[in-house]
C-alpha cells in the first residue's frame, strides 16, 4: 500500500495545518446548507422585500415577498416560494410565484422565465442574484421572452394598454377573459 499517511504528515509539517475533524457519528452541517446559510446572511432585501420561513429550522424552503415601489407594478405585493434542493448550488433554487398575475414573463401557474433560474444558472451565483432578478422583472417586464404570450403581445403593441391591464389585474379584475388575483395592499 502506498504510504499515504506519511505523505499526509509531510504535507502537514510543510503547511503547519490545523487539526481536522474527529471520526464518529456526529451531526454534520452539509455543504448545501452552509452555502444557503451564507447566502441568507448576505441577502440585501432593502425596503421592498421580505422573507418568511414557515419552519425556521428548514432554511431550504421559504417565501419571498416583493412590493415594488416604482414601475408598472408599484403598490402590488407578490410572493414567491423558494425551494432549494440538497444539490444547491449545483442546481438553481426552484422559484414559483404564488399568485395568478398578469405578467409577460410569469405564466398563469406562477412559472418564472428568468435566465439565471434555468439555462444561465451557475454555482457562483447566489440567492441575492435571484432576488435581484425577480425584482427586475417587475421593474422591466420583458416582451421578448414571453411566458404569458397575451401579456407580452399587449406590452409590445400597446404599452399604455398594457399598463392599464396591469392595474386591472392587480386589483383582481379580468383581462381578456382571465381573472387575476388581487395583489394590491
Amino acid at each position: 500500500m502506498l504510504k499515504i499517511w506519511s505523505m499526509k504528515k509531510e504535507q502537514q509539517k510543510a503547511e503547519n495545518a490545523e487539526g481536522t475533524a474527529a471520526g464518529g457519528k456526529k451531526k454534520k452541517v452539509t455543504a448545501a446548507q452552509l452555502r444557503v446559510q451564507k447566502d441568507l446572511s448576505e441577502l440585501s432585501l432593502g425596503t421592498t422585500m421580505k422573507t418568511e420561513f414557515p419552519d425556521p429550522d428548514d432554511i431550504l424552503s421559504f417565501i419571498l415577498y416583493i412590493e415594488p415601489d416604482e414601475g408598472m407594478y408599484r403598490g402590488g405585493r407578490f410572493s414567491f416560494t423558494f425551494n432549494i434542493t440538497p444539490n444547491f448550488p449545483h442546481e438553481p433554487p426552484k422559484v414559483q410565484c404564488r399568485e395568478k398575475i398578469y405578467h409577460p414573463n410569469i405564466d398563469l401557474e406562477g412559472k418564472v422565465c428568468l435566465n439565471i433560474l434555468r439555462e444561465d444558472w451557475k454555482p457562483v451565483l447566489n440567492l441575492n442574484a435571484v432576488i435581484v432578478g425577480l425584482q427586475f422583472l417587475f421593474l422591466e417586464p420583458n416582451a421578448s421572452d414571453p411566458l404569458n404570450k397575451d401579456a407580452a403581445e399587449d406590452l409590445r403593441s400597446n404599452r399604455e394598454g398594457f399598463k392599464r391591464n396591469v392595474r386591472t389585474a392587480m386589483s383582481g379584475g379580468s383581462v381578456k377573459g382571465q381573472t387575476f388575483e388581487r395583489v394590491t395592499k
Binding site: I4, K8, A21, G23, K28, S41, D57, H90, E119
Partner: protein, 435 residues
C-alpha cells in the same frame, strides 16, 4: 498458449502476469516503499468498496476481481432494468427486477474463484461512518452528483489525525456519452469533489420562454409538455417518470404541439429520454474510464507505480467525441471549499452557556472575530442575523441554553457565517468544558 484456448485458464495461470508486477519492481516503482514479497498478501487482506453497480460498476467489479483484490464490497440501491442489459454485462434478462449489487456480486464471485464480494442493496446514505471505516480504498462509479458530494463529504469528515486508517483514497469515475473522467482524491490532502464541482457540466436547459413561445426542436415540445402542459392539466396527481401511462400522456401532448409548429421527430423513446434526462451511455466509454480507475486502485494498493492523486496530477479527462483525447492535470484545492477547505475546528464551550453567550464569544475569539455571526446546527437554525424575519424567529433562542434547551451535544457541528467574511464560512465541533 495455443490459439483457441479459452480463458479462464487454470487459477495459477490467471495470476501469472499480475504476479510479475506485484513481486518485482518496475522502472517507475519507488523502491523505498515497495516490498515485492508482501504485495499480493497486502492486497488480499485489503477491503475495497465499490459504489454503484451500474454501467461503470460492472466494469469496476470485474476489473478489481481480476486485479487481485479479494475482499470487495459493492453498494447500489437500484434494481436491474431491461435497458441496462446492453452494457451492464453482469446481468441477464432473467435478472430484470433484481438488486444490481446482489446479482453483480454473485456473477463475479462465480467467475473469479477466491474473491469475496459482499453486496449492499441500499443507499450510501443508509450506511454510517463505521461502515465506511472498514475499507482501505473507495471506488465510485456513480451517475449522480448528489451521491458523489455525499460520499466525498463523509470521507473528508472521517479523517482523524490520530488514526492512519481513517484516510481513504477516493477514486471517482464518471461518464456521459463519449466523455468521461477518472480522478483520485486524498480526502483533506488534495482537491475534493466539492472543490471540483464546476467540472460537472450543468444540465443543458432551454429558456422557459422558448418552450412556451417558439419551440424549434422536438425536445422543446417534449420539455413543454413536461414542465408547462403537465402543470396546467395535471392528468395525474404526481408525475411518475417510470409510468408508461404518464410518458404516453406527455408524448401525445408533445406530438400535438410539434404538429402545430411543423416540427418532426417527437417519438415515445425521445420523450422518455428527455423527461428522464437520459444521455445515451456508451459501453466503450465506461470500460475506458473503469479501466483507468481500477488501474489507479491497483497502483495505490500495490505501490508498483506512481498513481494519480499525489503530489501532482489528480484528474484525467477523456473524450471520445472526435477521435480520442485525454488530458491529465492537477486540479487545485479550493481554499474556501465548503467541505475540505473548511474542516470543522474544535470549539470549547461552557456547558452552562446560553446561545447568546456563544454568539458574543465569537466577537472576541482570536480564531474567528466575528461581529455578526449567524449560527446553524445540522437540523436547527440557532440564530440568523438576517434576513429580518428569520432573525425575529430565532431571537428567542438567544436566551436558551445550548445543552438541554437547544439540544446540542458533544461533538455536534455548527456552521457559522458572517457577512464580513464574504467568501468563507466556518464549521466548529462543540466540545463542552466547564469554564
Amino acid at each position: 498458449m495455443a490459439a483457441g484456448t479459452v480463458y479462464p485458464a487454470s487459477e495459477p495461470t490467471r495470476w501469472k502476469y499480475l504476479d510479475r508486477i506485484r513481486t518485482r519492481p518496475g522502472p517507475y516503482t519507488d523502491e523505498s516503499t515497495f516490498d515485492g514479497s508482501v504485495v499480493a498478501e497486502t492486497m488480499e487482506k485489503m477491503s475495497i468498496l465499490v459504489i454503484g453497480a451500474g454501467g461503470l460498476g460492472c466494469e469496476i467489479l470485474k476489473n478489481l476481481a481480476l486485479s487481485g483484490f479479494k475482499n470487495i464490497h459493492v453498494i447500489d440501491m437500484d434494481t436491474i432494468d431491461i435497458s441496462n442489459l446492453n452494457r451492464q454485462f453482469l446481468f441477464r434478462q432473467s435478472d430484470v427486477g433484481k438488486s444490481k449489487a446482489e446479482v453483480a456480486a454473485k456473477f463475479v464471485m462465480n467467475r473469479v474463484k477466491g474473491v469475496t464480494i459482499t453486496p449492499h442493496n441500499c443507499k450510501i446514505q443508509d450506511k454510517d461512518e463505521d461502515f465506511y471505516m472498514q475499507f482501505q480504498i473507495v471506488v465510485c462509479g456513480l451517475d449522480s452528483i448528489e451521491a458523489r458530494r455525499w460520499i466525498n463529504a463523509t470521507l473528508v469528515n472521517m479523517v482523524d489525525e490520530e488514526m492512519e486508517d481513517s484516510l481513504k483514497p477516493l477514486i471517482d469515475g464518471g461518464t456521459e456519452g463519449f466523455k468521461g473522467q477518472a480522478r483520485v482524491i486524498y480526502p483533506t490532502m488534495t482537491s475534493c469533489i466539492e472543490c471540483q464541482l464546476d467540472m460537472h457540466a450543468p444540465r443543458a436547459a432551454v429558456p422557459l420562454c422558448t418552450l412556451a413561445s417558439i419551440p424549434r426542436q422536438p425536445e422543446h415540445c417534449i420539455e413543454w409538455a413536461h414542465v408547462i402542459a403537465w402543470d396546467q392539466e395535471k392528468p395525474f396527481p404526481q408525475l411518475d417518470k417510470d409510468d408508461p401511462e404518464h410518458i404516453t400522456w406527455l408524448y401525445q401532448k408533445a406530438l400535438l404541439r410539434a404538429q402545430e409548429f411543423n416540427i418532426s421527430g417527437v417519438t415515445y423513446s425521445l420523450t422518455q429520454g428527455v423527461v428522464k434526462n437520459i444521455i445515451p451511455a456508451i459501453a466503450a466509454t465506461n470500460s475506458v474510464i473503469a479501466a483507468a480507475c481500477c488501474n489507479e486502485a491497483f497502483k495505490i494498493a500495490s505501490g508498483c507505480a506512481p498513481s494519480l492523486g499525489w503530489p501532482e496530477n489528480n484528474y484525467m479527462m477523456y473524450s471520445g467525441n472526435d477521435s480520442i483525447y485525454t488530458y491529465t492535470f492537477k486540479h487545485e484545492r479550493k481554499e474556501d471549499c465548503p467541505v475540505c477547505g473548511n474542516l470543522a475546528r474544535e470549539l470549547i464551550v461552557d456547558p452552562e452557556w446560553t446561545l447568546g453567550e456563544l454568539v458574543e464569544s465569537f466577537a472576541t475569539r482570536p480564531e474567528a472575530q466575528l461581529k455578526k455571526p449567524s449560527i446553524r446546527a445540522e437540523k436547527k437554525t440557532l440564530y440568523m442575523q438576517s434576513p429580518a424575519s428569520l432573525e425575529e424567529q430565532t431571537r428567542p433562542n438567544l436566551e436558551k441554553k445550548l445543552v438541554g434547551e437547544l439540544g446540542l451535544g458533544e461533538g455536534d457541528e455548527i456552521g457559522v457565517t458572517d457577512p464580513a467574511f464574504a467568501t468563507v464560512s466556518f464549521k466548529f465541533r462543540l466540545k463542552f468544558q466547564k469554564a
